[in-house]
Structure formats: C-alpha cells, structure tokens
C-alpha cells in the first residue's frame, strides 16, 4: 500500500483518497532498518489519514520521536503488507479517478490531462 503514499497527483494534491477498496494482507519479511530509513520520506499526517480511511488504527496521530519496535512493526504492516487489490483512488484536487485492479493502479491519463 505504500505505493499510494508516495503517489502525488499531477495537480499537486496529495494524498489520493480511496473508495470501494478491497484490502489484502500479504505478509512480507520485516526489515525494520529499511523502514527506519524510509521515515524521512513520509508525509506522516497524510499517511495516518490514509491508513485510517482504510481502517487501520495502529498508527499514532503524531510522528513519534523515539521509535519502539512495536511502532515500527505497525508501520511496516501499513507500508509493506497492506495492499489494495481493487478500488478507486480519487484525486482531491481535480477529481480524477484512478482505478486499481489486481493491485495495479492505472495511472494513465488522457492526453489533455497531462500536466505541462
């Protein structure tokens, strides 16, 4: 699912909101070191919002200063194990809907929608 959090709309509206989602949890080997290095790249509030909208409440509201292993594990779960199989992502800025099927988001744009 973390793909969604790195996703940014061409019109600079972030994050994309989900609807009609179908979630799948695929266990992945834990690599807490990698997660730790991934932290600065995250937009925390956006991530928490997205996770909550998907029904995962395990993340704290504020980004913790000191990370415990449990918190890292929760983050790992959200980032690496939670996958959106089917559903739609909607851009909050322009209302464009990106359909997801089989876990692959379709990011194709019509030619007139391409940002210059």
């Amino acid at each position: 699912m973390y793909i969604v959090n790195v996703e940014n709309c061409t019109k600079d509206n972030f994050p994309l909101s989900f609807s009609e989602v179908e979630l799948v949890i695929r266990p992945a080997p834990e690599n807490l070191e990698f997660i730790q290095r991934f932290l600065p790249k995250l937009d925390w509030s956006a991530l928490v919002d997205t996770a909550r909208s998907l029904g995962d409440e395990s993340l704290p509201e504020q980004m913790p200063d000191q990370w415990t292993d449990d918190q890292l594990k929760a983050l790992h779960h959200v980032l690496m194990e939670l996958h959106v199989e089917e559903g739609n992502m909607t851009c909050r800025g322009c209302g464009h809907v990106y359909p997801i099927s089989n876990g692959i988001p379709n990011m194709l744009l019509a030619e007139h929608e391409v940002g210059r």
Partner: protein, 292 residues
C-alpha cells in the same frame, strides 16, 4: 536487428502473445538478466542495505527478480497491461503501476534511492499519436524522474538508440532536467555485444564526486573497448610497418614473377572460400604459344 519500436506502440506491441513470448524466451531472459546486473553495478547502491528502487518499464518483472535477489524493494511501472499481467502471474515482489512514462511520474519528491530501466527509453522517441511530441515527453519524463529521486542517487538506463541523433536528444533532455552524468558504452567495437547505458546522477553537492565516479565508470566501461582499440592501433602500426618493409625488402608487385602472383591470388581466394578457383597444375601460369 529488428526494432519493435518501429512496428507499433508499446502497449499494443506487447500484447498477450508477445508478452508471454518475451517472458518465456530464455535468450531474452539471459540478456535481460545480464543487462540488469550491469545496470545494478553502475547504480552502485550501498552494500548490504535495502534500497527503494524504481524499475521503469518493468514489463513482466524480469529485472525486478534480480532486484529482489539483491535484497531491494522495488516499484515497477509499465505501459503494457499484458506485460503487467504476466508479472502478476509470476508473482513478483514489487508493486506495479500501469503508467505512461512519457506523461511523467507522480511520485513524491525524493522517494527513490535509484532507478533502472532496461531497453525502454528508445520507445519515448516515437510519436505514436498526433498528440505525442518526443521532445516534450522526454523532458517531462526526465524532470519528474529527477524530482522523484533522492539526493544523491543515480538512474541507469540501458537503451538501443537507432542513431546518434537520438542519443544526443536523450542526453540533452536529461541534462536540461538537471541530471549530471553521461553515457557508458560497453563493448563499443562489437556490433552485437555493444550496449549503451545512460548513467545519470542527481545531487548538487555530489557533482564532483559523482563526476569522478562517473568518469571511473566510463573508463571501466570503455576500458574493455579501449583495450581492443589499442590493439587495433597496434595492429595497424604493424601492418604499416610490414608493408613499408615489404616495399624495401621483398619484391614489390612489379618484380613478382607472374606465376607467383597468380599462386598468391589463388591462395587468397581459397582462404576466402571463393568457389571455382582453378586447381594448380604444371600448366598454371604458363605462357601460351604464339601461333602467328
């Protein structure tokens, strides 16, 4: 060499049939693997660290498998749905996107530790529909990619340009987008094994260092070719020397007896495999009787 990009647009060329063909062909697989390994080598990611890599034009995830092996987490994007379907069937580890790279990426700035792309960006040079402008698509691709990569990092593209103009165009677009770096050509003297890698760097403060690294790589890449080249030059020198010596020491063409000359020619033809070279006999190169 047939060029798929001249046949039809990628999303159509890599339809169901071509996608399965591509993935089941062992030759394609081995070449892909080879190029991916080389690209990873050029990418020079820190050892023993899991990196977050973007695979541009991942197709059925052949190169992604190698990224998995190296222990990296990757995201792949491709424009051909059939190829991605094959990737799903093969249960690759990375996350997949259906995306036209000419439309640019929407990733958050500084997301990726590196990017690789095997045999893809030559597709960008085609205008498959009236609204496509290769120059614009290239610019959009490189600028969005530049922002999606973290600082410092690298992006390695292996590609098959059909002319020098294309190379120039791609390199220019990349430089305009803010990338440093250059072209690494492996085996430049071999028609078949010759591979072009575009080695791009992100990062201001890194530039001197990156340039060094790049230069070293260029050397390394070119050294294979340079060696051959040097040998060739040596050979050329020797040949010249020989021919110069020949003029002085040995008989020149004029001094050669007719028979010698003919025998030499025949030898040459035989060694070249020419058909119908007459057999040697006692009559070879004999002068004919004068009948008048």
């Amino acid at each position: 060499m047939s060029r798929p990009e001249e046949i039809s647009p990628p999303e159509i060329f890599y339809g169901d049939i071509e996608a399965t063909k591509y993935t089941s062909n062992t030759r394609v697989k081995s070449i892909q693997a080879q190029m991916t390994r080389r690209a990873l080598e050029l990418l020079a990611l820190p050892e023993d660290e899991t990196a977050f890599v973007l695979d541009i034009g991942c197709g059925s995830g052949l190169s992604g498998e190698l990224l998995d092996e190296a222990g990296h987490v990757w995201v792949g994007c491709d424009i051909a749905p059939s190829m991605l379907e094959v990737a799903l069937e093969r249960e690759v580890e990375g996350d997949l996107f259906l995306q036209d790279i000419g439309q640019g990426f929407g990733f958050r700035p500084g997301t990726f530790d590196g990017a690789i792309s095997i045999s893809v960006i030559q597709w960008l040079l085609n205008a498959d529909s009236t609204s496509h402008s290769p120059a614009q698509r290239l610019t959009r691709f490189f600028t969005t990619l530049h922002s999606a990569l973290k600082n410092p990092s690298r992006a390695i593209f292996q590609f098959y340009p059909s002319s020098d103009d294309q190379v120039q165009m791609i390199v220019n677009a990349a430089q305009r987008a803010g990338f440093g770096g250059g072209l690494v050509v492996d085996y430049p003297n071999s028609k078949k094994a010759r591979k072009m890698y575009l080695c791009l760097m992100v990062g201001q403060q890194e530039i001197p260092k990156a340039l060094n690294g790049d230069e070293m790589e260029v050397d390394e890449g070119a050294s294979l070719g340079m060696k051959k080249r040097r040998e060739e030059i040596l050979n050329e020198k020797r040949r010249r020397k020989d021919s110069a010596g020949g003029k002085k020491g040995k008989k020149s063409k004029k001094d050669m007896v007719a028979k010698e000359w003919i025998m030499k020619k025949k030898e040459l033809y035989r060694s070249r495999g020419k058909e119908g070279v007459p057999n040697d006999s006692k009559y070879t190169a004999r002068k004919r009787k004068v009948y008048f």
